[in-house]
């Protein structure tokens, strides 16, 4: 029976090629766009690079400080002083790492200026994140404490400075400081915003110690625990610390600190919805995404419903015959939905191909630095559930309408 349905569907598809093309075009473009967006999101939430163990750590990268009279508000990335005096007192995390954001680092090679991203970190940073080193090693706690002028650089940066030669133990100058290369890491995607950079050096090599002052200025922190079930406890300990026991250099001016230790999705929610809460509202973000996806699918769905109705009406004599020979409405609806799933499935596969091509193009265009998109099993699951939903939305109403046709009218070919 099922095989019969598929056969009929296939024949119908081939019979009116223009219509089939129009349907397939709409389905594949819609799904391609949705797939590209979910792949971007998926790559952000489940990275394949150094942050692949992101279920085991939380990041702190927004801080809002409010004065006692509530007249002034500072909202920015946390500063070193804040991290050292507050975050450092947390008991629950097994490891805590501090690092700066990525800043421009200028170098001059034979009269040309080269800008690389430069990040200053501690040594724990390398223990938490899982970098893929091609050559050499990362810096140790001893080197960090001593302020050794050593650097880990990315593959591309290594090529820029030293060509194809081995760059270990060679020196280069960035922002007027000379560093010795001790490790070369695989390029990190821009989507992994804690790990991303071109050059990593110990923050103890900063030109002056003035970085130690300042509650809000370009730093970030990671809280790590080997057991991922401990993350909620770390979050609540951090919030508790800020609410009960916030150490401030000037309690009048810098009175209240609002910040949260976030998982990747909470991080995104904080960026998009707002940073002024202890707990980032990730449910709201997910609802927002869902809503956008539904709104986006509305237009193509109506389009497809329209087309499907026309296609069905064209086949009204076939339906009339089947009805006259005793097919029930249920069977007919089922048949038509199967047909629709088949055509949506074909469109979906084309959509997958298109999105794959587009993402490869984005990768090679370097629009987003060093990005590498991976199609995980997740993407396929998302993709096919979207196809299924799409097929149901666009197939049910026309099928229902068809099943209501009176056999006599249907045989005559009218509606």
């Amino acid at each position: 029976m099922f095989k019969n349905y598929l056969m009929t569907a296939w024949k119908v598809l081939l019979r009116r090629k223009v219509f089939s093309f129009i349907s397939l075009f709409g389905i594949s473009i819609t799904l391609a766009i949705l797939l590209i967006l979910t792949t971007l999101l998926d790559n952000y939430l489940y990275p394949m690079g150094p942050e692949k163990n992101n279920q085991n750590f939380l990041s702190i990268n927004r801080l809002t400080i409010i004065s006692k009279d509530q007249q002034s508000t500072w909202s920015s990335q946390p500063g070193y002083q804040f991290l050292a005096e507050n975050v450092n007192r947390l008991k629950a995390p097994e490891k805590i790492s501090f690092f700066t954001g990525f800043n421009d680092g200028a170098s001059f090679i034979s009269g040309d200026k080269i800008i690389n991203k430069l990040r200053r970190t501690d040594a724990t940073y390398w223990q938490i994140l899982d970098f893929d080193l091609i050559h050499g090693r990362t810096y140790t706690d001893e080197e960090f404490d001593a302020g050794a002028m050593v650097a880990v650089i990315s593959q591309t940066t290594s090529k820029e400075f030293f060509g194809t030669q081995n760059s270990i133990n060679k020196s280069f100058i960035v922002n007027n400081q000379s560093f010795e290369v001790i490790g070369v890491a695989k390029d990190v995607s821009f989507f992994e915003n804690i790990a991303y950079s071109d050059i990593w050096v110990p923050y103890t090599t900063s030109p002056s110690t003035s970085y130690k002052l300042g509650l809000t200025s370009g730093w970030g922190a990671m809280l790590y625990h080997s057991n991922k079930n401990m993350l909620p406890e770390m979050q609540s300990e951090y919030i508790n610390l800020l609410q009960e026991d916030f150490i401030s250099p000037d309690p009048e001016q810098y009175h209240t600190a609002i910040s949260g230790a976030d998982t990747p999705i909470e991080n995104l929610a904080r960026d998009i919805i707002g940073a002024d809460n202890y707990k980032a509202d990730s449910t709201k973000l997910i609802t927002l995404f869902m809503l956008l996806a539904v709104v986006f699918m509305l237009l193509p769905s109506i389009n497809l419903i329209n087309l499907n109705i026309s296609r069905i009406m064209e086949r009204s004599s076939e339906i009339g015959v089947r009805k006259a020979f005793g097919a029930s409405s249920k069977q007919l609806v089922f048949q038509f939905i199967i047909e629709n799933i088949l055509i949506t499935g074909i469109g979906g596969i084309i959509g997958l191909l298109i999105s794959w091509l587009v993402l490869r193009q984005v990768e090679s265009s370097q629009l987003i630095p060093a990005v590498q998109f991976s199609f995980s099993i997740n993407t396929f699951v998302y993709g096919f559930s979207m196809i299924f939903v799409f097929a149901l939305i666009s197939g049910t109403y026309p099928a229902y309408k068809m099943s209501k046709l009176h056999p006599v009218d249907a045989l005559k070919g009218g509606a």
């Binding site: 223009v18 219509f19 129009i22 075009f25 709409g26 473009i29 819609t30 766009i33 007249q71 800043n103 421009d104 200028a106 001059f108 009269g111 040309d112 200026k113 922002n175 007027n176 900063s206 030109p207 002056s208 003035s210 970085y211 130690k212 002052l213 300042g214 200025s217 509305l298 237009l299 193509p300 109506i302 389009n303 497809l304 419903i305 329209n306 087309l307 109705i309 026309s310 296609r311 009406m313 064209e314 629009l367 005559k412 070919g413 509606a415």
Partner: protein, 396 residues
């Protein structure tokens, strides 16, 4: 004729409701994208107020919060050293950098009006060398040192909003939260200074003066230099060495205003063009869908058409009927959505959506939509008249 067609459509309302919905949503989508593009285009073409060519920005990173007692003197040393360079034509300072998103916003009661404005600290030489145009009054300068007021300059939009046509020069206003501070006195009006770049709206703007000797609790951030002859990257390296020699514990980033401007334009255009591409695909999809549905509908009305032909209707009038039907159908959809969309400017829900942009993008999307609909109807209407009336009447 149109009334008759409207009646025909009304009689088939159940079949047509989905087409109307489709047209309505499509129209809304075209409206939003064209309103977005138009408002960006309009802002882009307003005068920027300054010249961005041939200026370099040196961003000074002191590594921590500004400590005025120490940092102001170090900063002055940098400025003096740069001024001594024979290649450098001018040195100007801004706290808020140009062609970046960051800005300083305040609100004050000025001349009985609450004015929201963007502000910036600049020195007295900077704006002149970037081509900011003085419209009334004078530039602030040394003559304002040690006076019992704080000298400020405002842009034309500020003057218009607060003073209408009366003269703003010499007007003084204060901060109601801090009555102990010196009053601000307006000494001059300049044309504009759209610091955040071409895609930012022109807002009331105010210059405070940064004095090298006294510094400022907010600090200073950017040194902008122009040259007698254009320089390249190797000069940049020398410049960095010079600056590092004076304040080794500070970090410097040098970029040209031109590069910053290009990066910013790219930042606006990339999302807009991605959106445009997506919308273009949506349109193609909808057009093909309409085309398909129409084609199908026409072939089912062969008998009706045959009857009209037999009764003497010309080919042209039949073609017009089919195209006209779709246009009326589209107008239904457009009309419904327009009723909803017109609420946006009436209730002023979106600041950027002014009436002029509303009407422009309304007519823009109307034209696009109708052209699309006519194109979709063209081919099916041709097939309809190709069937001879005698055949058409027999058609089952």
């Amino acid at each position: 004729m149109l009334a008759h067609i409207a009646k025909l459509i009304w009689n088939r309302k159940q079949a047509n409701i989905l087409i109307i919905t489709e047209v309505a949503i499509t129209f809304a989508v075209i409206f939003f994208i064209s309103a977005l593009a138009l408002s960006n285009y309009q802002t882009y073409h307003q005068p920027l107020g300054f010249k961005w060519q041939d200026t370099w920005e040196i961003k000074v990173n002191t590594g921590a919060e500004w400590n005025n007692d120490v940092d102001k003197d170090q900063f002055s040393q940098l400025v003096y050293a740069l001024k001594k360079q024979p290649e450098i034509a001018s040195v100007g300072l801004t706290l808020m950098p140009v062609f970046e998103r960051s800005s300083m916003t305040s609100s004050r009661e000025v001349n009985g009006q609450e004015i929201y404005f963007k502000a910036n600290y600049v020195d007295q030489h900077g704006p002149k060398s970037w081509g900011v145009e003085l419209i009334a009054g004078r530039w602030f300068g040394e003559q304002d040192n040690g006076q019992n007021y704080t000298e400020v300059m405002i842009n034309q939009r500020f003057a218009q909003q607060a003073f209408n046509d009366s003269n703003p020069i010499g007007f003084e206003f204060g901060n109601s939260l801090h009555p102990e501070r010196k009053l601000l006195r307006i000494v001059g009006v300049f044309q504009d200074f759209r610091q955040m770049g071409e895609f930012s709206k022109s807002m009331p703007y105010l210059f405070y003066r940064y004095q090298l000797e006294e510094g400022n609790s907010r600090g200073m951030n950017n040194i902008n230099i122009t040259f007698n002859t254009m320089k390249n990257a190797s000069y940049e390296e020398d410049l960095l060495k010079l600056l590092k020699g004076i304040t080794p514990n500070w970090e410097f980033t040098i970029r040209t205003w031109q590069a910053k401007r290009q990066a910013q334009i790219k930042e606006v255009l990339i999302p807009l063009s991605v959106m445009a591409i997506v919308v273009a695909f949506l349109l193609i999809m909808v057009a093909m869908g309409l085309f398909g549905v129409l084609w199908q509908n026409i072939s089912r009305r062969t008998q009706e058409i045959g009857l009209r032909r037999a009764l003497g209707a010309s080919k042209l009038s039949i073609q017009l009927q089919i195209i006209g039907e779709l246009i009326v159908l589209a107008l239904f959809g457009i009309g419904i959505v327009s009723l909803l969309l017109i609420q946006l400017p009436i209730l002023q829900l979106v600041d950027e959506l002014t009436w002029s942009i509303f009407w422009l993008s309304m007519s823009c999307s109307m034209v696009i939509m109708l052209v699309m609909v006519v194109l979709c109807a063209l081919y099916p209407s041709r097939t309809a008249i190709r069937i001879p009336p005698a055949h058409a009447l027999h058609y089952e």
